[in-house]
């Protein structure tokens, strides 16, 4: 745990001052231990409340989109709704089907939540504000993320229910086929930043050109394409709207969650929201410049506030997409991944390599560089899109 920026103004150093004030009385070895405990407690507290608020915000935004107010009976503007849901989940009887496999049935939510919480360790929330400064942070993030698939299958298989089984098979196929574009879209960022450590990636996105355009990766042609692929894959990894096939209500009732009730059901939802938050956090870190301020003049606002703002913006886009789009079918979903996202990510890798190699070009060559960059990013998108959408299209109708 770093000592924190010494030169920045008070707000920036606030978290570190708070931590030091708490642990200054402890002897040396215990202090390190206390610091990590505080970091863990802080992350769990913040993201726990964010989860609670997110369930409420999601239902309020969905409501507003559908011309209705959303929950507003509990507390002022429905603010106590998460508390009500929590109590309901706690008091509900936890039914385990007789023919279920009790050990796996119990372990599934625990493993899912465990691995999805692990991913919070490497995300840089602010300047020097990262729980564990790992050299291979991004790889650690994806490793922890990929272990959650096992637990979803555990849940589906152990409930011994037809719907759960079909959903578990779907979940496996979906998560594997979208993990590849997720990683492939992160590789260009590592190539551009030259490091796998998340804080260094964010630092490499500092600085501005012409005073107001920040050096975020999303403002480069390959960055925009990679961000799009990463965002779509993140939607699918966290089982969110167009890709929420495992718990497709219309076909499989609640998919692999069918046989869960009570607090285990709540744990699954907490794991899903944690997964969503961590993927959005990594998207912000890789592409939207982590805790970097968008304008030089706005640097007085503390860095962790910028990270929180961007995270909430991405989460709102997640909810916005859930409010609008219908669900893809299983084979369309996997074909979309293998025939659209993976080729796009691979070509984008080449585009990013070209962008890094052509760093030295100046003057008119700069315009050529941008032209080639954009062509390499948009070209495959249009071509693959046309091939993917070959069979479908608007139709004209005649009248009898």
């Amino acid at each position: 745990m770093s000592a924190g920026p010494t030169d920045a103004h008070l707000l920036e150093r606030a978290p570190f001052l708070l931590r030091d004030w708490l642990t200054h009385a402890l002897p040396e070895p215990l202090r390190w231990f206390a610091n990590t405990l505080i970091a863990i407690a802080a992350i769990l507290a913040i993201f726990g409340t964010l989860f609670a608020l997110l369930t409420l915000v999601e239902r309020k935004v969905l409501g507003r989109v559908q011309n209705r107010p959303g929950p507003n009976r509990t507390g002022w503007f429905g603010i106590l709704q998460p508390v009500a849901d929590g109590i309901k989940m706690l008091t509900k009887e936890d039914i385990v089907p007789r023919a279920a496999d009790p050990l796996l049935h119990f372990l599934a939510p625990v493993a899912l939540l465990g691995f999805s919480v692990l991913t919070f360790a490497v995300i840089p929330y602010g300047r020097d504000l990262v729980a564990v400064r790992l050299d291979a942070g991004v790889l650690y993030f994806f490793a922890a993320g990929s272990a959650t698939e096992l637990s979803i299958f555990m849940a589906g298989w152990s409930s011994n229910n037809k719907y759960a089984l079909v959903a578990a098979m779907r979940a496996l196929a979906q998560l594997i086929s979208y993990e590849l574009p997720l990683l492939l879209s992160a590789v260009p960022v590592v190539l551009a930043a030259g490091t796998l450590s998340a804080p260094d990636i964010v630092e490499s996105q500092g600085g501005f050109t012409w005073g107001f355009v920040p050096h975020w990766h999303v403002f480069t042609p390959w960055g925009a394409a990679a961000f799009l692929v990463f965002f779509i894959s993140a939607l699918s990894e966290s089982n969110r709207s167009p890709f929420d096939l495992p718990e497709a209500e219309s076909e499989l009732i609640a998919g692999h969650l069918t046989e869960y009730s009570g607090f285990k059901y709540a744990l699954f939802f907490m794991a899903e929201y944690f997964g969503m938050c961590s993927l959005c956090g990594m998207a912000v870190t890789l592409f939207l410049g982590g805790w970097q301020a968008p304008l030089a003049a706005l640097e007085f606002i503390p860095s962790y506030a910028w990270f929180a703002l961007k995270l909430c913006a991405l989460l709102l886009v997640f909810i916005w997409i859930r409010a609008t789009l219908p669900r893809l079918r299983m084979d369309q979903l996997t074909r979309f991944a293998w025939k659209f996202l993976v080729p796009l990510a691979l070509v984008n890798l080449a585009a990013s390599a070209f962008w890094s190699l052509s760093f030295g070009w100046a003057g008119p060559m700069q315009a050529l560089r941008w032209a080639i960059g954009i062509a390499l990013a948009v070209g495959p998108f249009v071509l693959l899109g046309r091939r993917l959408g070959a069979g479908i299209g608007p139709r004209t109708y005649r009248y009898a």
Binding site: A136, A143, S146, A147, M154, I176, E179, S197
Partner: protein, 171 residues
């Protein structure tokens, strides 16, 4: 031998044993996954973070999935294949085979020149790892790449045969 290492070792060996002795095939796969996680913990303890994360990503993320698919699609999971009665002759043969394998392994470990130094392995940074891979071991990396591509193509061809058998999958 720190306490943490002992616990990790015990967990790895225990889950590996449970995997082998387990009655339900699927539960043994989950036990196998736990033992792979134990191996990853070893790498972490040894300081090789990159390899540990790669181990988790590849083994826990992908190989266990392949094993699950394999078991489910070949219907072994359905009828619990009850093991044949443990005849004495079969037990002796098993012990002999196990002893032989153990002996060979122990010999190899004993004779390999391990510079067992007190300190941890030098913490190689990922950047250093990248230079080595692309520099000295570039050839090995290319060979492994080609090998994997061929394996992937083989898998696609095998899967493609399957598609013909059930036409009409393409909408």
């Amino acid at each position: 031998m720190s306490a943490a290492l002992a616990i990790v070792a015990l967990a790895t060996l225990g889950s590996a044993a449970a995997a082998m002795l387990g009655r339900s095939l699927l539960r043994s796969i989950f036990m196998l996954a736990v033992s792979w996680a134990g191996v990853a913990a070893f790498y972490m303890w040894a300081g090789a973070q990159f390899v540990a994360f790669a181990q988790v990503l590849i083994y826990l993320g992908a190989i266990s999935m392949v094993a699950l698919f394999a078991v489910l699609l070949t219907r072994q999971s359905r009828d619990e294949a009850s093991p044949p009665p443990a005849a004495l002759r079969r037990a002796i043969l098993a012990v002999v085979a196990a002893a032989g394998v153990a002996a060979v392994l122990l010999w190899a470990v004993a004779h390999s020149p391990l510079a067992v130094s007190g300190s941890l392995a030098p913490a190689t940074s990922v950047r250093q790892l990248g230079f080595d891979l692309m520099g000295r071991h570039a050839a090995a990396l290319l060979v492994v790449g080609v090998l994997l591509t061929i394996a992937l193509l083989g898998a696609v061809v095998l899967a493609a045969d399957g598609a013909q058998e059930r036409p009409g999958d393409e909408p």
